[in-house]
């Protein structure tokens, strides 16, 4: 069975450590990764993690992966078992400055993967785009609106609680229970 590769690369306006953190937060993959409807970290020991990913299309198909991590440099995600055909994702991170880095993704999978209902996982460019959007969660300057867009609402989770910007005004949200007891 021939093996196919898909590659993609991109420059990110963030430090290498942030990109690495996003790629190794397996519990959060369901929030941003293409075709992943649910995700959870099963175990982590040193630079090895085991995670389970559940597809959103087709639903309920699960795959267990082993993730071999080299801090701030590489994340290798390998199929361990499950309903999805064999595949492998290799992320390589290169720091190019205090606030910039490059990310390269190489996907490897058997040719038959393209005939499966999970073939959407085999798009390196989709993964790269998804990572860029996910990084927006942590970059203060991130905006999807462009120069002519009008911001309406932003909500942030901070160590001090939830912070909301509504039409340019900042609000700090208080927990409802503490408000009632005040």
């Amino acid at each position: 069975m021939p093996t196919l590769n898909r590659k993609s690369g991109r420059v990110f306006d963030c430090e290498a450590a942030l990109l690495y953190e996003v790629l190794t937060d397996y519990d959060a993959y369901a929030e941003w990764a293409p075709l992943i409807g649910d995700s959870r970290l099963l175990a982590r020991e040193g630079d090895l993690a085991i995670a389970e990913l559940e597809l959103s299309r087709p639903p309920w198909r699960k795959v267990a992966v082993e993730c071999i991590q080299t801090p701030n440099r590489q994340v290798l995600v390998r199929h361990l078992g499950g309903d999805v055909p064999l595949f492998q994702m290799e992320w390589n991170i290169h720091s190019t400055g205090p606030k910039t880095c490059t990310g390269e993704l190489k996907l490897e999978f058997p040719a038959s993967f393209l005939l499966s209902s999970s073939r959407g996982l085999a798009s390196a460019s989709s993964w790269m785009e998804a990572v860029a959007n996910r990084l927006g969660a942590f970059l203060p300057q991130f905006s999807i609106l462009g120069e002519r867009g009008q911001p309406i609402l932003e909500l942030h989770e901070t160590p001090d609680g939830l912070v909301c910007w509504f039409r340019g005004e900042k609000y700090t949200l208080q927990h409802a229970e503490s408000e009632a007891s005040a």
């Binding site: 953190e21 929030e31 941003w32 959870r40 970290l41 099963l42 175990a43 982590r44 020991e45 090895l48 085991i50 389970e52 267990a64 082993e66 361990l80 078992g81 998804a130 959007n133 996910r134 927006g136 969660a137 942590f138 970059l139 991130f142 905006s143 999807i144 609106l145 462009g146 002519r148 867009g149 009008q150 911001p151 309406i152 609402l153 932003e154 909500l155 942030h156 989770e157 901070t158 160590p159």
Partner: protein, 184 residues
């Protein structure tokens, strides 16, 4: 090589204890009719196991154990198969309650056995072993012993959850990493 991940809701030492209690395999391992220790030397144990599957097979297995971490085995005698090798790697589960077992199994049944059938058999063997191990540990759990839950601590990095704005006649929503275009 067939691999699988098994979650067992028991602490790692308990799981390792069951996996290395070779004479007791016949009480929980599916198909195991007999399990005998032949020789023990340090962390290495030679056993003879009789498994009833499609037919009754007698296999000599050598186990190498690293306390609470890894148990590997390979076939040292047997006429029904050319090779039967594998390992169980144990890790503490991230939920703080159980153990994650990464199981690997390689079977060589000889040139006459189709590879896909052998792999299917190996996958079933791992799955059945995982279920049986979990059931056995649940039934033999001591009441009142509840392991302390350990939850991973999230970093305090501020995180954007939502960004909503208007571009032309459309609203654009960013939600935790996904972008949605909303038309009025």
């Amino acid at each position: 090589m067939i691999k699988a991940v098994i979650y067992v809701s028991a602490p790692r030492p308990a799981v390792f204890s069951v996996l290395t209690n070779y004479p007791q395999y016949r009480t929980w391992l599916p198909g195991c009719e007999q399990s005998e220790v032949i020789k023990r030397e340090g962390n290495t144990t030679d056993t003879e196991i009789v498994i009833r599957s499609m037919k009754t097979m007698r296999i000599g297995l050598r186990f190498e154990a690293s306390q609470d971490q890894l148990l590997s085995f390979h076939m040292i005698s047997g006429q029904d198969m050319k090779a039967y090798d594998g390992s169980y790697r144990l890790m503490d589960a991230a939920d703080g309650d159980g153990t994650v077992v990464v199981a690997e199994l390689e079977i060589d049944a000889g040139p006459m056995a189709p590879r896909f059938l052998v792999d299917r058999f190996a996958k079933k063997a791992i799955d059945d072993t995982g279920k049986a191990l979990g059931s056995y540990l649940r039934e033999s759990a001591r009441p009142g012993v509840v392991p302390a839950a350990r939850r991973p601590v999230k970093t305090g990095r501020p995180k954007r959850l939502v960004q909503l704005g208007k571009v032309g006649n459309e609203y654009r929503l960013w939600l935790s990493g996904r972008i949605y275009n909303l038309k009025g």
